[in-house]
Symmetry: C4
């Protein structure tokens, strides 16, 4: 049974790690299969394709689901702590990638749930040399975390603006110009404030156009706010803020980035060599 | 009467403060009621809902107005300085949240004024642990205040651009392509410069399309201006947690908040009196 | 004749300067008149207004032109160096504000040229306490000047992108989907790249939609470029870059913003007081 | 044969360099010809022009192709290392500018390939005093290179978002509202997320409009991400005219370009060998 354990371990290294050649090859192949399975779902949604190739595509889809079931089984089998894997983030996602394929047998609409397989694509960062990307993602996340409260303040303000402007436009323009209800007015205000401007609902009255102009200029200007918040936080996260160095006299350990003297005791932080 | 005073004081703590459990619960409940009342106004504006449930919704709306009247009365009653509350920002907003409900009895359109209740939602910042949000809002406000003059210069330039381009397009395209007047041309210029682009009015002549291209590229580029202004100011405001004091020797003017000595020249920032 | 000179000088102070009460009042009144004259031009362009009030509006317009002629005459009369004024920027603008009013007698379309009067509105900065605004405008101009070359590189790249994409879409979509010529394709590419998106011309073929997606994501991403350029330049312009201080030993006069020692000779820039 | 070599060398200087008057004049003329040839291609694509002037334009086009053939021959002839030129970037572009003109004899659609001549316009930077522009372009490229990984993280996230939202909208809205397939849904999601908003496909169901609002607000907010990334990197790249060298005492790692001593601790940056 020792050779069995050995085989299981080698399988584990191949499936779960990316350091070995086999591991990288396994992950790359897996990504390609996931991508192919996504493409099949998309193709199947095109009417003309569905009419002509529905059975073929369903067969291929089944093949992919089978592959993923086998893969999931192998992961459970070779994992030293199967339960831990099963309830980890990746484990749940891997399960989610299988379920809709089985559900699709009974409810044909369930196949669109297959699109959750895209989450599995996150493994792509493991293939493209993991660590530098993660570090970059960490910078971005640090910047986002640092600006969380500012962003909530911003989103609450935007929601308020959008509600007020949407109601105003509903009252001004009325149902005959497409503003059939307050929620529709709010939808319009979001479309306009974010500068998307579909044009399915547009103001017709002069007063409505004046209010619209206000909404548009507001939207055009306040985009500066999330951008400014994020940029300032990112610059801070990248600069790494303060000088870490123990003051030789008072042991104060963080200083202004360019400090030459300790701000607490006034002694030179770095000895001048004679 | 001492117990009455005591009861009033406890009511005051519950209604006006958020430090106690009761106070937080009161504010949370109030927010939910405000939200519910806003949802009712919105639902009532949808035609199909209005047709079938108008009396029910009007009744619920009345209930909410009644609750707000009671709440306003209690606030006046338990406040140590009722007049001061009545004329404070929140006091006026609380009053404004009631008036349209009563007006709606006589003028049915007045009910849309109920949307001002959204301003009461600002209390949400009191529930979500007040202070850090306020500090963040202060940063944003400081950045906006710091960039006020730059923003005025920017808005005046944009207004000028929009007027000139709007008139130009009116002359070039003329009423037969939807540019029926100069104000309409200006409205179009705003829609285009802010990159909203509804598409309700579009240039048809080649020359008009050339001018439009100019407007669009201008709009696409000058969005950099408010963003740049705000970002630079925000970065300054965020850095500004620092001690503003001219070093008597080297004139370095910002220091760590607790600095006793200048980090650049090592001299004491503040003279020690003998 | 001394009293005449005196009177002329007082007129000069009132018309050309904004330090005195009379001067400010004169400039404010002038701005209001300019604004009113612009509003009249705009109103006159609205068809329903024009039909009913054309003669009245023409009369008012004439009145304004008359006022501006008188004002121009007074400026020439009281200016110590009339020719210098006449050929200054403001002098030419003031003249331009009159000419179309006279031309309009012969060519009715010329009245739209009256919109050039908006340039006179620039005087508004003189009324709103001049200097801080000018300083802010200088910051903005310094930032723009500093980024001039980067902006040219950016605009050339955008023009190239737009031409290539426009031609590509013309070949892919063809005249039957609205892309009737290469210039039209370029116009579409500008509309799309700048994220305006009128929707008057939209891709219909799958390949066209793929290329469009590329254009849109490009446009969405490269807006970061002018914003980044301008923000970085503005931050530099506002920070004021370097420490100006003569090194006591080698007289090097600019240093890193936080320098404690001279980078050329290694001596302390600021004496440490014992 | 010496005079022939001399003549060839002078030709080389004129054609390949921009330091001499003749060289600048040659490059300017070439740019004008390229521009003219692009304009001809564009004009020829306009239907009404094509109908009336097709033979004339084809003739002119032929003339331009002939000029470019001659120019390419001269470049090959006078270049000291013809093969090296032929396989350089500019050499290949110069060849590409000729081929479609010849292909157009057999396939009339090939003439649109002539638009690749726009790449030759890159020579414009050589005419407008080369070096400062190249330096600026280098800054931009350095900023882009520095943010490459962050941008990949960003693009992968956007692709995921767009796929998920596109599928969701296909399921919610369905073919009867224009969302005829998942790829079409993804196309719509890109149009909306990038705030282009053509308006050719718009959500009709309330649920679809709620999801759209989410997409729009996401798109409006996350534009901050590439902008923030690029701005922070550009600021770093612009600051980076500095000397990168770890101070042996305090580890300060950037210094003025000509620094001999560390501005923070005053120690010599480089050991003096005895």
């Amino acid at each position: 049974m020792d050779s069995d354990n050995n085989w299981r371990e080698r399988l584990y290294v191949m499936i779960f790690q990316t350091d070995t050649v086999a591991g990288r090859r396994f992950d790359s192949t897996l990504l390609l299969i996931i991508l192919a399975s996504l493409v099949i779902v998309m193709l199947d949604s095109i009417d003309s394709v569905h009419k002509n190739y529905a059975p073929v595509l369903a067969g291929i889809e089944w093949g992919f689901t089978f592959i993923f079931i086998v893969e999931y089984g192998l992961r459970l089998y070779c994992s030293p702590k199967p339960l831990r894997y099963a309830f980890s983030f990746y484990g749940l996602v891997d399960l989610l990638a299988i379920v809709p394929g089985i559900l699709a047998l009974y409810y044909s609409d369930a196949q669109y749930l297959l699109i959750v397989r895209i989450i599995r694509m996150l493994r792509i960062f493991r293939v493209l040399k993991l660590s530098p990307y993660l570090k970059q993602a960490n910078y971005l996340l640090a910047a986002l975390r640092g600006s969380k409260q500012k962003i909530i303040v911003f989103l609450v303000s935007v929601s308020t603006l959008v509600t007020v402007f949407g109601t105003l436009m509903y009252v001004i323009e009325g149902p005959e110009h497409g503003f059939t209800s307050i929620p529709k007015g709010i939808y319009w205000a979001i479309v306009t404030l974010t500068t998307v401007g579909f044009g399915d609902i547009v103001p017709k009255t002069p007063l409505g156009q004046v209010v619209s102009s206000l909404v548009m200029i507001t939207g055009y200007s306040i985009i500066a706010v999330p951008t400014g918040i994020f940029t300032a936080e990112l610059a801070t996260a990248m600069r790494g803020d303060s000088l870490k160095h123990d003051c030789p006299v008072c042991n104060k350990n963080t200083h202004e980035p360019a400090a030459a003297f300790c701000a607490r005791c006034g002694n030179a932080l770095f000895k001048k060599l004679e």
